[in-house]
Symmetry: D2
Subunit: 132 residues, 4 copies
Amino acid sequence: MTVAARLAAHPAPAPHADLLAAAVEAALDCSQACTACADACLSEADVEDMRRCVSTDLTCADVCAATARVLSRQSAPLEDVARALLVACVAACSACGDECAQHAGHHEHCRLCAEACRRCADACRALLEVLA
Amino acid sequence: MTVAARLAAHPAPAPHADLLAAAVEAALDCSQACTACADACLSEADVEDMRRCVSTDLTCADVCAATARVLSRQSAPLEDVARALLVACVAACSACGDECAQHAGHHEHCRLCAEACRRCADACRALLEVLA
Amino acid sequence: MTVAARLAAHPAPAPHADLLAAAVEAALDCSQACTACADACLSEADVEDMRRCVSTDLTCADVCAATARVLSRQSAPLEDVARALLVACVAACSACGDECAQHAGHHEHCRLCAEACRRCADACRALLEVLA
Amino acid sequence: MTVAARLAAHPAPAPHADLLAAAVEAALDCSQACTACADACLSEADVEDMRRCVSTDLTCADVCAATARVLSRQSAPLEDVARALLVACVAACSACGDECAQHAGHHEHCRLCAEACRRCADACRALLEVLA
């Protein structure tokens, strides 16, 4: 709602503004989920088994944060950059979502992070379809 | 709500989790508002008058993004880092909110950004009070 | 040199460490060049003609920063994420380098930024070749 | 050298450009050192003992990256934001440098990271002195 209103306030809004806003919101949210999950994993008793989860969380957080920023810009959009970044974001969210899903039964932060990853991957895929 | 749930899922949650979650959410939101506002300003007919706004937007976006990340981590918290970063965030949001408020009458993205800056400054101040 | 030494100190370094280190260094450097160029463009007398340059600078800075971070991680590498991010980085650096090159004759910061973009695009392409 | 040349190419360069450029370079470099160190720590056999190091690395990387970006902007500088961010950066680099120094004997990436933290803390302190 808020992100959509901000993008609509641009003097020359991009087409597919609703899909764009949904992807920005999901990517921002996923970036936070991944940052918090990596941090929580570090404090778990089974940290040795959570190494891969921390690592995928950190990469997913970085890719999602960059995606949210780039998609927030509608002046002089670089469509090929946006597309490749969305592909990277879908790949990161899929890998991180799969990894977190394996720990979702015993770590609530992993369950919440897997959910955020799925939502972000879906939002990015929906945007990719209209950009392709 | 979601950020709060994620922070609460940490094996050893920080005190003042509600204020922490509010600051994280407000900082993430403000970072997006500032990124979108800088981009919209660049496309305005009066871009010459919006230079300072673009610049404060960009700095505020960077400080807010870093604040949201650092505050999302509850393992081995560095309280003096958090405090100084919150001071930087309040200063950035105040400067950016003041600048955007001057253009709020003719640029809706500036009005929305000024609002996000005020909310973020308030959330960071509330957290600073309990950390001090 | 320093980045290469850091990547080599990982307990299980990735193959192609030299190409990896070169891409990380070039991406970090390009991110700074783009941030400084966007800021300098904003203060130029001909800011109206520099809008597109500011915008491509900002997007290129974000993509390069994310690329430098993701490529700095060798634990549990996500090759498809790295590849898509490198494609995004080459596209961003090419677009930004082309844009800056058009202003290189009258703005030294654009000339320096175009150079950094070319170097980063080259380093990312070289890494992509061995990852593909 | 390169960062200094870029900052000097701004139409209205800030005073203390040499100290500014040194801080930007040191912060960028430290951000990479911390990102690589966190990642290497995650793959060490003694990961249980490296949790605090990973956590301080991640926070230091974020603060250094934001500091490098904000200090790269000389248009409409916000001095109180820069000062608070430099204070945060000195605090993060001191904490992370101290933590890494404890592992420098058995982990080369920690030794290299502690060095980068010290250099960044020094460069930020030198800049703070002239800004105060």
